[in-house]
Each structure stands twice: as structure tokens, then as C-alpha cells.
Symmetry: C2
Subunit: 179 residues, 2 copies
């Protein structure tokens, strides 16, 4: 099981980026997201709307205290991975992480601009996707791609009202309640 923890969300300022993080988590094979920082029901509703339309099986919740989430994860023997441009490259650590997570749940932590240094010390891995500044959305996509594989993106979402089929030039949307 893979959960994404989004740190330090701010209402209005981060709404779109946090929504991109959550949709990327869902589409690339994570099972749920926990958003911490300021409580933002708008973001939660917009993700739930996508789940209703394109299929469920993805959990979303708010947690006031991120520290307690990480501590709880570690207590339950889960593996915590923090994505940061300062970390070790995913391509160098991928196999070690996959081996370690064979029978343990994975918490992937993505921060905003100012991540408390405690996060770096509490986690099992600080992982980078290149050591250049870019985007937590890009980092999450690549890390899930490496750890789940493209199977993550190809999984079928249950109870989807809509499904999109690949089309070289137009838009193919299949509607109706699909299994």
C-alpha cells in the first residue's frame, strides 16, 4: 500500500499544485493521500469529484499534525520516503527501496517550499529526482513510475462513470457505469 503525505498546504496559494499532487498520486498508483497544513475542503471535494467520475478506490483525508502521521507510520513498521532535491537519486536507491517495501507500506512525503528539517531526520529515505529545482508533482510522478511501474497507471479504477480510451487525434470518452 502506498500513501502520499502532502506537507504544509496553504489555502488558495497551493490549491492547484496540491490538486495536481493528489491527482498524480491517484493516476500513478498510490492508494491514498493525506493533506496536512491548512484544512482545505475545496481541494478534497475536487479530488472526490474526479474519483466519482473516473473511478474510486483512492482515499483522501486531512491531518492537522504531519509529525504524528510519520511517527504513526514508523510505529506500524512502514517505510517513509521524503522527496527533496537534496536527496539521493531515485535511480540509485530504487532497488533497495523496492526490496524494503516488499511487505511494508510506503509513505511518500512531498513538501512545499519550507520543509522542517525534522522530516529529513525522521524518514528512512530522502530521495531526489535529479538535484535541480523543479516540481513536487514531477518528482512524485517519476518516483511512483519507478516504484510501481507503468502498471500503476494502467490499473482499472472501480465504478468509473467515464473512461477515456487512447485516440491518436480526437477524444474518446466511454460513459456509463463501468466495472
Amino acid at each position: 500500500m502506498i500513501t502520499v503525505l502532502r506537507l504544509g498546504h496553504r489555502v488558495i496559494r497551493d490549491q492547484r499544485v496540491t490538486t495536481h499532487v493528489a491527482l498524480t498520486a491517484r493516476a500513478f498508483g498510490a492508494d491514498s493521500i493525506i493533506i496536512s497544513g491548512e484544512r482545505d475542503d475545496g481541494v478534497i471535494e475536487s479530488i472526490e469529484k474526479v474519483c466519482t467520475e473516473f473511478g474510486g478506490g483512492f482515499g483522501i483525508e486531512y491531518a492537522k499534525n504531519w509529525k504524528r502521521v510519520i511517527e504513526g507510520w514508523k510505529k506500524k513498521n512502514g517505510v517513509a520516503i521524503h522527496l527533496t532535491m537534496y536527496g539521493e537519486d531515485i535511480d540509485d536507491k530504487k532497488e533497495e527501496i523496492m526490496e524494503k517495501c516488499k511487505e511494508r507500506d510506503m509513505l511518500i512525503i512531498v513538501g512545499g517550499p519550507k520543509v522542517p528539517f525534522d522530516v529529513y531526520k525522521m524518514v528512512d529515505y530522502n530521495i531526489a529526482v535529479g538535484n535541480q529545482p523543479h516540481s513536487e508533482v514531477a518528482a512524485l510522478a517519476i518516483v511512483l513510475d519507478r516504484l510501481v511501474g507503468s502498471e500503476g497507471r494502467k490499473k482499472r479504477f472501480m465504478s468509473a462513470k467515464k473512461r477515456i480510451l487512447p485516440n491518436p487525434v480526437g477524444k474518446t470518452v466511454v460513459e456509463g457505469l463501468l466495472g
Copy 2:
């Protein structure tokens, strides 16, 4: 040569996501970005600031008319690839695209919410990263990862004032003008 074309940028609303798109383009091996939509010097300056700090060799410009950009690209025998959740999966088309782009420049087009249907018809490829709604930042990261490889992320940026070295727990920043 790879250029990214960002469609339909809106001042304020899209500032952060367009910045993430541009930084992802730079960090994953594209050579430049063209931003169309509303002119936004703030975004251009913030990308230029990153280039000054972390190294240059990445072009950024504004184009009022996106259609002219795509038409010009096609006239110069370039290949245009539009990223959309409705397209064909990158993993199915990757080899064909790489073969076609061996000696031709690549324009990767990322849209906002409402991309004119003309875009779908003008390009050589409409490409998806999974057929689920997620993020143009995630899609761009995966497509550049597939087409450039992780070498794109490992290239050295010229004239960087700062360079970050991988660190399992802390932050290692090397400063001073680096080649």
C-alpha cells in the same frame, strides 16, 4: 533540440503551475520553453533567476500566437507532440517518436484546461501518460524521462553558481562559479 510550448497561460491563476512546467522542462532535458497565453514577466523572471543560480543553457520566451509557433515548427520540419489525457500512451509510441526525432527538433505542447481542437489536428502526435486526469507537470516529466532518459536530468548546467550534491539526510550545496 527539444522545446516545450505552454498554451493558454493566465497571469496569477497559472503562475505556479507554469513555473513548475518550465522548471521541469529545464531539469528533465528540454532546451527551452515558449509560454503563450497572457504575457507574464514575473514567471519569466523567476525561471531566469533559477538559471542564474543553478546554471544556464535554457531558453525562455513569450509568444502571443501559439498557432504561429506550431506552424513555424512544422515548416522547419520539426515534430510536434501534444500531451493530452485523450492521446495514445507514451510507452506505446515512444520508439516511433524517437526514431522520427533522430534528426528533427521536437516541440512538446502542454495545455491548460481548454485546449483548442485545432491543436489536436495540427500536431504529429497526441500523447497521453495514462488516460486519467492528472497534471501537465507529471505528463511532461514522464514524457521527457522516456524520450531523453535520465541522462537529461544528469546533464551539467553551465555557469552554475550553486550545485546540489546527493545527501542521504542533509543538504549539500556547493557554491562558487562552476563550469
